[in-house]
Structures are given as structure tokens and as C-alpha cells.
């Protein structure tokens, strides 16, 4: 089909053509960026926690009536929980991967260093890798004799006595790679303060931090041989078979209440709920973005239908003349399809520039990465398709115009 006559017709409808082109351009730009943002959120939501998620439940209790020995209390609680039928392992932890509230420490490789290299999540508690199901890829787990009660460690910190301080740690592969790129981390040391020096004895495949908002630093965590006393910020983690989780959770709450009726259970949930809650905002935003894309494409398609119908009605006589002069129905159909394709192409070309501009703005204000190039053709194909679908109805109506129209005066 010759496109020159189409272009000359469009030139006579400059404003309407430009409006359609601008509408398509803006839609294309927003759809490209919205699809990209959805992808970004979905990828964030797929973040690995590094643990055996479907086998874990969490119970958090608060404010036990003044217990003379919170360490003994914690031991008793753990013993009670271990008795529950179906429980495979139990641990007390100060935080959960993707759990929200976090405990972090600044990491230095040299104690005299002014600025720490990074901040890493610090897990405290016995049997954590085993209970979590975090995979050890090198070295060993922390040994029971390496554990130190937190209050002893705090006293040691105040007095500068290194004997009461933890000396070893298990770190994640991601943290090890960041601190010692390409080297074997086992046996290497890092510092949390001037006096706390930790030697790496084990490396975990992965263990996400509690506040894993940034994908790049999400796996920067370590486990320290510190024992915490029972308290409102500690959680009991129970490992069980996935189908037993509900029963185990109920039994665990009952057992903890029985051990001390004065305590308040502030949280009881499966780990699946933990993940669900952590990404609730991202899920909602992704849903909103999908809604925006659907609404935008619908509005644009309806706009194309409206304008194409108008053009067809306006050109009824011309179409009749062309039919009378020998143009087939196919010619008329293709004329309108090509016209729409041309408009969509102009719009898409403009939309790409705009999409790039919007992406630059988002990179500046929302810390989004650069829009990968393959999103551009995705947006283009989507708009070409929408355009062709929208114009099909009016174009078929145009093709149905009988040649006899040409002979009628009005």
C-alpha cells in the first residue's frame, strides 16, 4: 500500500493526528515504565530469605513478670517448646529474615578505620542455621562452648576485657564476597568495634536481613555466638513439617502461656505470613500499576476507536468514490489499518524518548535502576497491537461502504 496519500490526508488533519500521536506516546512511555516497575517489585518480592520458609513458625512473647534470670527463663522456654509433638528444632533469635525490625552492626576490616565499610544484620542465638534451615557452604557452625551470655559480653565491652566477648562468627557468602572479594573467608577477621574482633568460622549460602529493603545489601548478615535472655524483642522459632504448622503454633502458644501465665503473646505466625507482611506494600503497588496499565490501554484504545469512527464517517463519500473507481474492500480496510499503524509508529517513537525521560526522573527520585532496553520493544508491540485491534471495527465499517455512495449527492 502506498503510504504517501495517507500522509497527505493526515497532514490535513494535523491537530487530530497530533493528539492521537501524543496520547499514544504518553501511554507508551507510562506503560514501559510501569511494566518495568512491576518487574522490579516482583523481583524484589522473590528475594531469597535463605531459609526453609514453609517449615517455620514464629512466636513472640513480651514482658514476662520480673524474672530473676532471663537466661534460665529462655532455656526453660526452649525446653518446653522442644517437647511439643511435631517440632523438629527450636531456637531463640533476635530477628527474622524479612521480619521488619532489625538489629545491625557496622563492619570494619581495620579497627582504626574511621568509616565502617558496611552495616550488616546481626543474628544472635543458638542453633540458628539448623533451625532456620540455612545452608552452610564452608566451615562449621558455631559451637555451644563459643556462646556468651549477652550481659557478660556487655560488661566485657565496658571493661575492655576481650575474654568475655564473642570471637567467632558465621557470615553469609554475600557478606564474605563483599569484604574479601575472590578470597577464602574462613579464618579471616573483621571488627564491629575497636575491641570486638570476629574470626569467620563458617559461611552460609544465604540469610536475608530483617530490613531487606535494598536488594544489593539484603544478604549482608552474620550470626554471632551471643545468647540473649528471654524478652519482648526475642522470638521463638519452631521448625516442623509444613502440614503441622498450625497445630504446632497453637501448642507452642499454649505451652509458653502455661510456663508463665502473666506473659503477653505479641506475635504468632507462620514464616509464610512473615514474608507476606514484609512485601504487602510492594504487592499493593504492583497491583495498582497493573490497574493503571489496563486502564491506560483501555482509554487509549477507546480514543482510537472514537477518532477512527469519526474519520470513517467523514470520509464516507471519498471511500465510495474509491470503491467506485475499483478499490476492493481489502484496499479500504488496509488503508485505515496502515493509517493507524503510521500514527502508532510516530507515537511510539515519541513515547520511547518520553519513557527514557521518565525513567531518568524516577532514577533520580525513586532510586530505580535504568530501564533495560528490551522494555522498549515490549511497549511498542503492545501499542501497535492495541492500535490495530481498536481500528479494526471502524476500518471494517469503512470497508463495508458501498460504491453507490459516490453517486449520491449528500
Amino acid at each position: 500500500m502506498d503510504i504517501l496519500p495517507i500522509l497527505s490526508t493526515l497532514r490535513r488533519h494535523k491537530i487530530t493526528s497530533w493528539l492521537l500521536i501524543l496520547e499514544i506516546a504518553l501511554t507508551c512511555a507510562i506503560v514501559c515504565n510501569a511494566v518495568f516497575m512491576i518487574g522490579h517489585r516482583l523481583q524484589h518480592m522473590r528475594m531469597s530469605s535463605g531459609i526453609d520458609e514453609h517449615a517455620l513458625v514464629q512466636v513472640q512473647v513480651a514482658d514476662i513478670a520480673p524474672s530473676p534470670d532471663i537466661y534460665a527463663r529462655a532455656k526453660e522456654d526452649l525446653a518446653v517448646l522442644r517437647q511439643i509433638p511435631g517440632v523438629q528444632a527450636v531456637a531463640m533469635t533476635n530477628q527474622l529474615p524479612l521480619g521488619g525490625s532489625s538489629s545491625n552492626a557496622s563492619v570494619k576490616l581495620d579497627p582504626t578505620q574511621r568509616q565502617p565499610i558496611l552495616s550488616a544484620g546481626t543474628y544472635f542465638g543458638r542453633d540458628l542455621p539448623q533451625t532456620f534451615g540455612a545452608r552452610l557452604v564452608a566451615g562449621r557452625n558455631l559451637k555451644p562452648e563459643e556462646y556468651i551470655d549477652a550481659d557478660i559480653a556487655i560488661k566485657a565491652l565496658a571493661t575492655g576485657d576481650t575474654k568475655g566477648l564473642p570471637a567467632v562468627a558465621v557470615v553469609t557468602q554475600a557478606l564474605a564476597q563483599r569484604l574479601w572479594p575472590g578470597q577464602n573467608p574462613l579464618g579471616k577477621s573483621f571488627y564491629l568495634t575497636d575491641t570486638v574482633s570476629l574470626r569467620v568460622v563458617g559461611v552460609l549460602a544465604g540469610l536475608a536481613r530483617a530490613n531487606a529493603h535494598d536488594d544489593a545489601t539484603a544478604q549482608y548478615t552474620m550470626i554471632l555466638p551471643l545468647l540473649m535472655g528471654a524478652g519482648k524483642d526475642q522470638s521463638y522459632i519452631l521448625r516442623t513439617r509444613p502440614q503441622d504448622r498450625a497445630a504446632v503454633l497453637k501448642a507452642a502458644v499454649a505451652a509458653l502461656k502455661k510456663a508463665d501465665p502473666l506473659r503477653v503473646v505479641t506475635r504468632q505466625r507462620t514464616y509464610d505470613d512473615v514474608r507476606h507482611e514484609f512485601f504487602a506494600n510492594d504487592r499493593a503497588m504492583a497491583g495498582i500499576l497493573v490497574g493503571v496499565i489496563v486502564a491506560l490501554l483501555t482509554v487509549t484504545a477507546l480514543g482510537i476507536v472514537g477518532l477512527a469512527s469519526f474519520w470513517v464517517a467523514q470520509r464516507r463519500r471519498t471511500i465510495g468514490v474509491r470503491r467506485a473507481l475499483g478499490a476492493t474492500r481489502g484496499h479500504i480496510l488496509r488503508y485505515f489499518q496502515t493509517e493507524n499503524f503510521l500514527l502508532a509508529t510516530f507515537g511510539i517513537a515519541l513515547g520511547m524518548l518520553l519513557a527514557y525521560g521518565i525513567n531518568l526522573f524516577l532514577m533520580l527520585h525513586y532510586e530505580l535502576p535504568r530501564l533495560p532496553a528490551f522494555y522498549f520493544p515490549v511497549g511498542a508491540v503492545a501499542l501497535w497491537l492495541i492500535g490495530q485491534l481498536a481500528v479494526l471495527g471502524p476500518a471494517l465499517r469503512a470497508a463495508a461502504v458501498p460504491p453507490v455512495v459516490a453517486t449520491r449527492s449528500v
Binding site: 504518553l26 503497588m285 482509554v299 527520585h365
Partner: protein
């Protein structure tokens, strides 16, 4: 003439129902989406204390002993700095605040114990922030000094424990201490919960937590330190705390200080006072960064913490872009519609109608579409706000359509559709009448 144009517009709209519905829907959807997000934006970015916020300030000092230059002082204060600045009483009013969690029981009420949020503060808090009381009132400065075991409770807690009855004089058990209720707040829901705002710049835009409800229990600062000893959390520490149970002498920041300064001279005076205090602390060897002090206004502090969640801002941009696309759509359709009536317009022009008259007639039609779109957009806005309310976010219960936004919805719809109508109407009125008549 307006009535006649209105009649013409109605006839024209009825003639092509599908096109009319399409235009009205496009405007309605655009208005609905943008007004939903703008309403949320309006509620979240508003002034929590209109008329008052200009006199409230948030002093900051920098107790970090690390000599490397810090860009910003900590978001909160260490206990000693806050206590010393507070007890100097250099401002018109001033209140220390810190929030903690503790067990609350009302044993005689036969209710299970619950974990309550407690705000530790000083007596000026209530008059300074215009906190409304339903029963009783705040405590006195004397209560602050004498570490009185008194408390003010929120209206939510009063409803839960006492079914909304006057509970002044009743006793609550906070952890292991009894406190006497001296006041019950009327429902109070500042947006954001400004006096607890801190650390916004570290939250990656996820700041919905700043919009949670105020605490359940308000207790004099010194009394609360005794009642909930060991229950306070530091905001951050510059070195390991020796005794995490008692933060008073710890190297940690965990107390916020708010001051009310009623005139510009007093603001300048207080700024000088904070700077002098920091210099004096440097002389004593406690501070290193004496010049790193701040005195931000309430709104300045909220801006600094970027309290509006970044997702909400992003949604607003999206919705406005969406409205723009809907408008392009409407302009195109109106243009098509008016130009199709070229013959009719030609006849009117030939019979003596001026360009202005044709223009006015077209604008009336565009405005009518805008009104219809605005009305449907309002329904969509209400639906959108209902959707926001059903989301699990802290500010969900704040979201409602107030009169301002209700009127703004209609204004936006009509202005938008008039704007959309200007270009098509202009084109229609410029058509030479002769040309159109010839084709008839």
C-alpha cells in the same frame, strides 16, 4: 442564551450516546484516579497542627565523639542533652518525648494484659500540641518534678477498658507500678504523628509508620523512667551501651525535645541558646561537633524526614499522567464531534451567529461533559478511597474525602474539560461558513 446552549448541548450529547459515554467515562476515570491519590497526598502532606505549627521547633545537637565531620546531627538527643536543654526553660513551652512499649493491666477489670505504647513526656506536651481532652486534663509541672504516678490515656484505650466512661481517678497497672488516671483524651489523630517522627531519611521512602495512632498511655517523663526501667529502646548509639537497661547515661540518642517559640526574636534567641549550650559542652569535653546544631520548624522537620511515603508520591504522578492522557482523549473526541457538525455550525454562522457565540456554545457542551464526568469521577474517587482504606497501611483510617477535596474534584473536572474543550471549540468557531454551506 446560556439556557439555549445548554439545551443544544444536551441534544448533541443525546445524538451520539456511545461517544458521550466514552468522553464522560474518560474524564471520570481520570478524575477518579487523580483525586484519590491527591486526597491521600493532601491528608498525608498536610499540617498536623494548623495555626500552631509555625511556633513549634525541634532542636538537635551532635554528641557524637567521632571527630570525622558528620553531615547531620542525630535525629534524636541523648538523655543528658535533652534534660539539660529542657530544664533551662528558655522556650515558651517545651516537652521531652520518647516512646516505649510496656505491659498494661487493669486487674480489677478482668481483662487480659495487653502491650501498650507509652509516651513519656512532660506537662507542656498537652497545651503545646493543643491535645484535646474529653475528661480531666494533663498533669502539672509539679507532677513532673515529684515523679507523680499519674497518666493520661487515649480515647481508644478508655473505650476499650472503661467503655468510654469517665475514668479519671481510676488506677491502671503499668508493668509493676500503679498509676492514677488524671485525663482522658478526646479522639486525637494528628497526621502524621509528628512528635515521634525521626529517621525518615533512613527508611527508603517506606514512611507509612509515621502515620500510626498516638500512644495509648502518656506518663510524666521521670516517672516513666522508673516504671518502665529497662524497657526503652535507643534510636541509635555511637558506641556500645554499657547497660542497655538504663539509657540515661548511655552513649545513645533516644529522647526528642520539642519547643514552642512564639516570636521570631525568640527563635533566634533559642538558636543562640542551643549553639551556646553545644559550645559549653565542647568546652567540658563532652561534645566534639559544637557547631553542628539545628533548630528546624515542625514543617521543616517533617520535610527533612520526607514523611509522605514515596509510593504515595509515585501514585500521584501516575494518576496525574493518567488524567493527562484522558484529557488528550477527550480533546480528540470533542474535536471530532464539533468538526463533524461543520454543516450545522456553518448554517448558524450564515444566519448571523458570531464566532464567540459558536465558541460559547461548544464550551457549554464541553463543560456539561465535565460536570457529568466530575459527578461520576466523584463516585470513582469514593470507591478509590474505599480501596485505600482497605489496604493494610497505617494511614488507612485517616483517608476520607473532606469538603475541600470534594469541591476540588468538581473544580478539577470542569476546568479539565473546559481546557479540553477550548481547542476544539476554537477550531469549530474558526470554520468559514461559506465553505460548509457549499457542501450541503
Amino acid at each position: 442564551m446560556f439556557g439555549y446552549y445548554l439545551d443544544l448541548a444536551l441534544r448533541s450529547l443525546k445524538r451520539n450516546k456511545a461517544l458521550t459515554v466514552l468522553m464522560v467515562l474518560a474524564i471520570a476515570v481520570g478524575i477518579g484516579a487523580s483525586m484519590t491519590t491527591l486526597t491521600v497526598m493532601h491528608l498525608l502532606s498536610g499540617d498536623p497542627l494548623p495555626g500552631r505549627s509555625g511556633t513549634l521547633f525541634y532542636p538537635q545537637v551532635d554528641p557524637d565523639p567521632d571527630p570525622s565531620p558528620n553531615h547531620q546531627p542525630y535525629d534524636m538527643m541523648d538523655y543528658r542533652s535533652a534534660q539539660e536543654l529542657w530544664s533551662a526553660h528558655r522556650a515558651d513551652r517545651e516537652a521531652m518525648v520518647t516512646s516505649s512499649q510496656l505491659r498494661l493491666t487493669a486487674s480489677h477489670l478482668n481483662l487480659p494484659p495487653l502491650m501498650a505504647q507509652m509516651l513519656s513526656t512532660t506537662s507542656d506536651f498537652f497545651p503545646m500540641f493543643d491535645v484535646p481532652f474529653r475528661y480531666g486534663g494533663g498533669w502539672t509541672a509539679e507532677d513532673d518534678r515529684s515523679r507523680a504516678r499519674v497518666a493520661v490515656i487515649s480515647s481508644d484505650l478508655n473505650d476499650k477498658l472503661f467503655n468510654g466512661a469517665d475514668s479519671v481517678g481510676r488506677t491502671l497497672r503499668l508493668k509493676d507500678s500503679d498509676v492514677r488516671i488524671v485525663g482522658v483524651l478526646a479522639p486525637w489523630r494528628p497526621s502524621p504523628q509528628f512528635y515521634d517522627v525521626a529517621g525518615g531519611r533512613f527508611s527508603n521512602g517506606d514512611t507509612a509508620g509515621f502515620y500510626q495512632r498516638p500512644e495509648d498511655v502518656f506518663v510524666p517523663f521521670q516517672s516513666s523512667l522508673e516504671i518502665n526501667a529497662g524497657g526503652f529502646q535507643p534510636f541509635t548509639c555511637w558506641s556500645m551501651p554499657g547497660d542497655p537497661a538504663h539509657l540515661q547515661n548511655s552513649p545513645c540518642v533516644w529522647v526528642a525535645l520539642w519547643v514552642q517559640l512564639d516570636s521570631a526574636a525568640k527563635v533566634a534567641g533559642y538558636r543562640r541558646f542551643v549553639a551556646d549550650y553545644a559550645a559549653q559542652q565542647k568546652a567540658l569535653g563532652r561534645f566534639v561537633h559544637a557547631d553542628n546544631t539545628q533548630l528546624r520548624s515542625l514543617m521543616g522537620w517533617l520535610d527533612f524526614n520526607q514523611v509522605v511515603p514515596s509510593d504515595v508520591r509515585l501514585q500521584t504522578w501516575l494518576a496525574l499522567a493518567f488524567l493527562l492522557i484522558c484529557l488528550f482523549n477527550t480533546v480528540g473526541l470533542l474535536l471530532a464531534k464539533f468538526l463533524r457538525r461543520a454543516g450545522e455550525i456553518g448554517v448558524r454562522r450564515a444566519l448571523g451567529a458570531s464566532r464567540a457565540a459558536v465558541f460559547a456554545q461548544c464550551l457549554v457542551e464541553a463543560g456539561l461533559i465535565g460536570l457529568l464526568g466530575g459527578a461520576s469521577g466523584l463516585l470513582l474517587t469514593l470507591f478509590g478511597l474505599w480501596l485505600v482504606r482497605s489496604q493494610p497501611v497505617e494511614y488507612a483510617d485517616l483517608v476520607h474525602l473532606d469538603t475541600t477535596m470534594f469541591l476540588a474534584t468538581f473544580a478539577l473536572a470542569v476546568v479539565a474539560s473546559l481546557l479540553a474543550g477550548v481547542l476544539p471549540a476554537l477550531r469549530a468557531s474558526r470554520m468559514p461558513p461559506g465553505l460548509q454551506l457549499k457542501t450541503l
